[in-house]
Amino acid sequence: MNSDPGSPGTNAAGNGNSGAAPTRSEFRRAPREIGAEIALLWWSFFDWLAVVSWKKLLLVSFLTLVIAAILKHPDPFILLIVASFIIKAVAGGKRKADLTASEATKRAETEQLERTVLEARMEALQAQIEPHFLFNTLASIDQLIQTDPPRASRMQQSLIRYLRSAMPQMREGSRPTLGQQVNLCSAFLEIMAIRMEERMQAVVNVPEGLKSAVFPSMMLQTLVENAIKHGLEPKTEGGRLEIGAEIVDGQLAVHVLDTGVGFTPKGGGGVGLANVRERLQALYKDRAELIISVPPTGGTCATIKVPYEIAPA
């Protein structure tokens, strides 16, 4: 209609009409909107009544009475005050409980969400395989194929075993045992022993009897990889790595000790350990812990303590 190049008069009249039309419907809509506004106001007043303390309500009532006395029309105010007291006495408790309940639901939902996010992040971290490790190992296999084929084959098998363990997998039903975790670590250690030669001596000192104990997945691997990457690899002359397990005060304590360069308090290697700590907290709350200590001989000792449980067969 505006694009109509007709007489400006008609156009102006048309504009006038279209301007007036909404005004009429606004009038029709207005009472509904005012009603909604009042209802909203009423409910926020109701909510306030429900949660406010009696002491405060009395104080506000007193102030209202003072204003009423000044205005010299106390009746409606007194009515309002009496109504407030009755509402608070009758419905206040229920409304208050409703509010608390809805708040609790909201909190529970946030917590659930946080847990899901945490789990997703854990899986992503589990699947993280160092490209540096992978390419170096493949290059070593490439070299061994020419010089020592049987050794190349063994190293490749260890790599396959390691990769399988590092992939996130659905472990339905059965819970991971310490024995499984130690086996997966030994695949990694076999690879590193070939690559680092005399610079790394690994000892696994886990009693047969403890291998059936429940132990969370991928944690021992993190400790072993850290010990090599941050402890032994940066040390020119290399050193020793030991995996050990024992029962201390009814808890299963599994440690990875290295004689490497030792821990740097600023940065470095924190992500893997923080992840282990987070997972322990999620799985066991306060019944498990990760302890990093400095042995008198130097290097680093990382210990994971979890409740001692035998995995159901």
Binding site: L138, A139, L144, K266, R277
Partner: protein
Amino acid sequence: MPPSPAPTAVVADDERLMRDQIIGRLKQAWPELVIVGEASNGREAVALAQSLEPDIVFLDISMPGMDGIEAAQALAGRAHVVFITAHDEYAISAFEQGAVDYLLKPAEPERVALTCERLRERLKQKPDPMQDLLSKLSQRIGAGDLKPREYLRWVQASLGANIRMIPTSDILFFRAEDKYTRVQTPRFEALIRKPIKELIDELDPKEFWQIHRATVVRVDAVEQVSRNLRGHQVVHVKGSEEKLEVSRTFNHLFKQM
């Protein structure tokens, strides 16, 4: 034209298998090249290069002690450098702009042959000191001096006869006590020798707040702040019964929103 002496090289990699591999492939691609020395870390590589004065040094980037970049900096202008790396995308993009060559592990024979060809050309010139490239590389790899400031993430403390590394995220607060500083966690308390005054400079100011001359608290551990009878603010910490007084100087930290 006098017969030029045979070109010489030193190969440095911390893994023997990798040294064998690169030497084997160099022999195939460039039979005249004489490998005069092998090194298993950066320091050895620099020492060998200084005493043997090879024309070329092959340097693995990640080596213990002194890494390949640092070794190349130490050797600047003395020899032609070829870097060897298993995986480092940042470094590779930097090499491509520079006058230096690199080999990816496992080095394919064809790629080694190409590197040798380039080196034969380059040997006619003096080695490039590569200053710009190396400083760029060391920044990318994280050895440069442009690193953001690092704060303590672990505190080394004694717990009885043992020395523990306590993650800062586990610490509720630090408190000055006589000659020591007490480190409080939900599970135990440990002692360190470093006074609060020095400690506060090493802690991340986003993670820890000083609330008193003698007290530093981890912000996330604060449960609530109340006032005691003397009108001082008092901090309550999750996981500890202890109440920590806030001195007037630090009152502003807990100002109401």
